[in-house]
Subunit: 293 residues, 2 copies
């Protein structure tokens, strides 16, 4: 997906959020904002937004010397995620359709995204409300079944995560996938509140799956920039499950019916690209797939 | 008031709104956004936001060749304003306190601001709701009385307007001021949906008051840039009434107790500067005044 002009104010807002988490020095914050604006002014809008996101957050880290401004936020969301994961696992396991229940929770947990909007309104209450809405609401049966059949038949599944905290619910879904099939991919270095290997470790994902990384601080999956191992697993996987907006934005042009995007549409640009309303839980396969529109 | 870093995403959003009204050519829109970003990157944040606003909207006009992107919006709001003005004048005139009633409406009408946020949610229903909320809610009595006594004693009043449409309600308030005392100041050229002489003409303000301009396309009042006539009227007025955020942002450092800011606090930055909540109707006098905090 290309970058749209609506993304421009959002890059500025995201940079401001990040630099405020990175430093309290307002003169330094202003310098970062100036560098970010100059960089966005030169950006090729043909590229997907996470390519700009990588540059924005690199500027924040470079100028402030803070290697991971979202570290504290990620820790909080991981802690909350694990608490809710333990609380909700019995609900999933006693559900008539445990796969669908865990899928709903994993989709709803994609709300834990500090890129799509500022995190100040995103507390435990909002996350719980999103979970409950997902559990009690329907998912489109055709898409759920397409994914269900694809994973049931798969020998190898590549599961590309999005955010810290959210990955606790990814774990609940991965527990419902065939054992021994799953490789989990995280970001190669800190960017936004995206999950890295450290977060995967905190959530205990390594007990269930191999962990690999996209090799970079890109909040998405730019295949050309990914390490050989990632590209091989991506090419060879029977099914790819890609969580969140950043992975959608960077992989949406892949013509692979066995690639499933799993996300909550959180911004108007992505919602328009998906032809759905903001706030909708979305299961969409790559071009050529059953559920692609 | 200085510019804060929170203003940066807002400049970008405002530029996007404006350029979309000015042209449908997306390549041209992108060029405008790039120029705006480069300009904001160099802006001195010590200056008030309307100084940047002037530059943003100048870029939009220059690049698109559209001299007044908000012309249609201003016409619509003027039409609606006059309709509501005629409808509400009997309410004001039959009110136990016609001055306060018209003041409430003039404050509430400051919601018609396409700079503080995008106009897509601002229709007749939202404006009517704001009017009704104002009419049925209280205003702080001390501030109302300070303004009441100041205008009653004034031989000369300078009333600096903000937005098209809003000026219909300014007219209702001006009708309650002593006859022959009022000079109305509008913007010297189109910028945002700010009222110009053309809008004052449409609303019939010239029947009630002299009309002067700030001499420029600044969405506020930068005295050093205003023509001699404006500065003389400003300096000589017994009372200055300055509507809206832009006039507050540019004049808030004036130490004049006889200068009254009348506005609806619409953005978090201005609300914080005023020490009030977003959405609050505010009467505040210049530094040294009774109601200044």
């Amino acid at each position: 997906m290309r970058t749209y002009l609506e993304c421009v104010p959002c890059f500025a807002r995201q940079a401001l959020d990040a630099v405020r988490m990175a430093t309290e020095d307002t003169a330094l914050q202003a310098r970062v904002m100036r560098r970010v604006l100059a960089k966005v002014a030169e950006f090729s809008f043909e590229l997907p937004p996470p390519v700009m996101g990588r540059q924005v957050h690199r500027i924040v880290r470079e100028e402030t010397g803070n290697p991971d401004p979202y570290r504290e936020a990620k820790r909080l969301f991981n802690g909350l995620g694990m608490e809710l994961m333990d609380e909700m696992r019995p609900l999933v396991e006693s559900s008539a359709d445990a796969f669908e229940a865990s899928l709903k929770l994993a989709l709803a947990a994609n709300v834990i995204d500090l890129g799509a909007k500022s995190g100040k309104d995103l507390g435990e209450a909002a996350i719980r409300a999103e979970m409950n809405r997902a559990l009690t609401g329907p998912l489109p049966a055709c898409e759920v079944d397409a994914l269900r059949h694809a994973v049931a038949a798969a020998q190898t599944i590549l599961y590309i995560t999005d955010n810290a905290g959210e990955i606790a619910f990814d774990r609940l879904l991965i527990e419902q996938l065939p054992r021994g099939t799953v490789t989990v991919a995280v970001r190669g270095a800190p960017v936004l509140n995206d999950a890295t290997a450290e977060d995967a470790q905190e959530i205990g994902l390594a007990d269930l799956a191999d962990i690999i990384t996209n090799g970079s601080a890109t909040p998405g999956t730019v295949l050309a920039d990914c390490p050989e191992e990632f590209r091989e697993r991506f090419a060879g996987a029977d099914v790819v499950m890609a969580k969140g907006q950043g992975n959608y934005e960077t992989l949406s042009d892949e013509a692979r019916p066995d690639l499933f995007f799993l996300l909550r549409a959180k911004c108007p640009v992505v919602a328009r690209d998906l032809d759905c309303e903001v706030g909708r839980l979305v299961i969409r396969s790559g071009r050529g797939g059953l559920s692609a529109r």
